[in-house]
């Protein structure tokens, strides 16, 4: 330690900084071999005829030794691509063809994510992940306390309004504003609860209802019931039984999204 301190005094800052930067880039100690920008300048030859994204990436990784990780699979099953250029430009071309973007991870792995420029491309949806999402959204929407009844919240604000001082009433009647900071602490608390109720409760109800729908998906059924005999039209229902055996049924509206953006009609 004494020797180390003596050495520190003797060395210039620049020398020490160089040593530290050397340590950062040392693969043995850092356990990370990040490809240098030059790695993305290496040449790639790609002659793909009706090739899937995976097959193209296999060619690219064999030629360059760069690791690639892709989210999901593209809706476009295959395409043809002939290209001779740098790895960087090849990744641009391949990603663009399959509607992806790419970036490099801290450890130097090429990460490809969908960009959703193609209107038919979709994020992946797996039942367990969607169930977890619904549960987490409910957890987020119950992070703060509030009244779980919109009518009660509205009534609380009506009472709060009645409790305002004559000066505050006059101000409001004359078109002026009153600010939250000017209210009494208990009035602020009431108003805050009502705001939370009106802001978060509608979404909370939706997502609370979503959880059993998603949890019971595997035991659900779809059903059509005649609506009109002539012309024959039908209503469609998604149905499931909850843990108590109670049947829940809600309508699935049959919608068609028109070719012109924004045109939505019900057949």
């Amino acid at each position: 330690m004494i020797l180390f301190c003596w050495w520190l005094k003797k060395c210039s800052i620049l020398t020490i900084r160089s040593l530290c930067l050397g340590l950062i880039s040392c693969p043995v100690l850092g356990q990370v071999t990040v490809p240098s920008p030059k790695a993305f300048e290496q040449k790639v030859q790609l002659q793909a005829v009706k090739m899937s994204l995976d097959d193209m990436l296999e060619v690219v990784t064999k030629q360059t030794q760069v690791s690639i990780l892709v989210d999901d699979e593209p809706i476009l099953e295959n395409t043809s691509l002939t290209f001779d250029g740098s790895l960087h430009d090849t990744l641009d071309k391949v990603a663009d063809s399959f509607d992806y973007t790419w970036r490099v991870s801290r450890a130097g792995v090429v990460l490809m994510s969908k960009r959703f420029k193609n209107p038919n491309e979709r994020p992946q949806m797996n039942m367990p992940e969607m169930r977890d999402m619904a549960r987490e959204i409910v957890r987020a929407l119950t992070l703060v306390d509030y009244i779980r009844d919109e009518a009660q919240a509205n009534e609380a604000v009506r009472r709060l309004f009645q409790s305002l001082t004559p000066a505050q009433h006059n101000a409001l009647e004359s078109g002026a504003r009153v600010y939250g900071a000017e209210l009494q602490p208990e009035q602020r608390a009431t108003l805050q609860q009502a705001i939370f109720t009106r802001t978060f409760l509608p979404a909370l109800k939706l997502w609370e209802d979503a959880i059993p729908r998603l949890e019971n998906l595997q035991h659900s059924t779809l059903l059509a019931r005649p609506r009109t005999p002539t012309p024959p039209t039908h209503d469609y229902f998604y149905r499931y039984r909850d843990a108590d055996g109670k049947l829940h049924s809600f309508e699935i509206q049959h919608m068609v999204y028109g070719d012109n953006d924004g045109e939505v009609r019900t057949p």
Binding site: C20, L29, L69, S105, V109, M125, P128, L143, V144, R239
Partner: protein, 276 residues
């Protein structure tokens, strides 16, 4: 000339920053010298698996390292294309995390668990929208233009500067389109069977129809969820009651909300309570 003490401190800081990669990501617990996890995480792995699931990737990773790497059950079915070769197991795990906004933990010696990344935010109304955004998988967020949730609350997404939920070209229209397409495709493909009047069990649907049904359910709920909750931070009056503006509208409705007054632009958003 830099004083000796400052120089010494600077050197220590630089040396410490240089050593950081040794310990993996900053969210991971530091391993003791005797912990085999660290050695196994530094093993080189070969994951030329092509199109596969998270479960299969982690099974291969476990087999090649001696670690037991598992993902939370809700992540196991996710699909990826994997062309990763000659990299350390920890780099492969970090890449998975970075791609999807996940995180990994050492739960026991030689045991690793991958989960969704949770935000560490105060219990406050201002945190609610960000926690909600963080609950949504990264690819769904990208699809719906939902901002990347951050723990830095100073990076504020102002709800008063976004367009309304039903403006053509907005995010809601994108959700509605996805909903309409999934529902329509599923019902069209099922119509002949449905018209018999017999219920069709989920188990009788093919893989595509199952995906469309799941998509229909999820997009339906997203469609009905307030656009502002999905895309912005809380309005100022929701985050801080002191900033709430109260005004009387039409002698019967108390407006409680936020106002944004900037040169040439005045916008407001809030709630109306009937008080008379």
């Amino acid at each position: 000339m830099i004083p000796t003490i400052v120089r010494t401190l600077l050197c220590f800081c630089l040396a410490a920053s240089a050593a950081l990669p040794l310990f993996g990501q900053d969210s991971h617990p530091a391993f003791t010298d005797k912990d085999p996890t660290r050695t196994n995480l530094s093993k080189m792995v070969h994951l030329n698996l092509g199109a596969t699931t998270v479960s299969a990737i982690l099974a291969a990773l476990s087999a090649q390292t001696g670690l037991t790497v598992k993902a939370a059950d809700y992540l196991r079915e996710r699909t990826l294309i994997v062309r990763m070769d000659n990299l350390s197991a920890s780099s492969a795990l970090d890449a998975l995390n970075e791609l999807n906004d996940w995180t990994w933990y050492r739960t026991n010696p030689n045991q690793i668990l991958i989960t969704r990344r949770r935000l560490r935010l105060d219990v406050a109304a201002a945190s609610v929208p960000r926690m909600l955004h963080a609950a949504i998988p990264r690819d769904v967020r990208t699809f719906l233009n939902i901002p990347t949730p951050s723990e830095d609350m100073s990076n504020y997404v102002n709800p008063l500067t976004i367009s309304g939920p039903h403006i053509p070209g907005g995010n809601q229209q994108k959700i509605y389109k996805a909903l309409a397409i999934d529902k329509s495709a599923m019902l069209t493909s099922l119509t002949p069977q449905l018209l018999t009047g017999e219920p069709i069990p989920y188990t009788k649907l093919d893989a595509k129809q199952r995906k469309q049904l799941l998509g229909s359910l999820v997009y339906d709920i997203l469609w009905q969820t307030d656009d502002r909750l999905l895309h912005t931070d809380a309005l100022p009056h929701v985050a801080d009651i002191n900033s709430a503006v109260l005004a009387l509208h039409g002698a019967t409705t108390l407006f409680v909300g936020s106002e944004n007054i900037s040169p040439g632009i005045k916008s407001s958003a809030g709630l109306g309570f009937q008080v008379r």
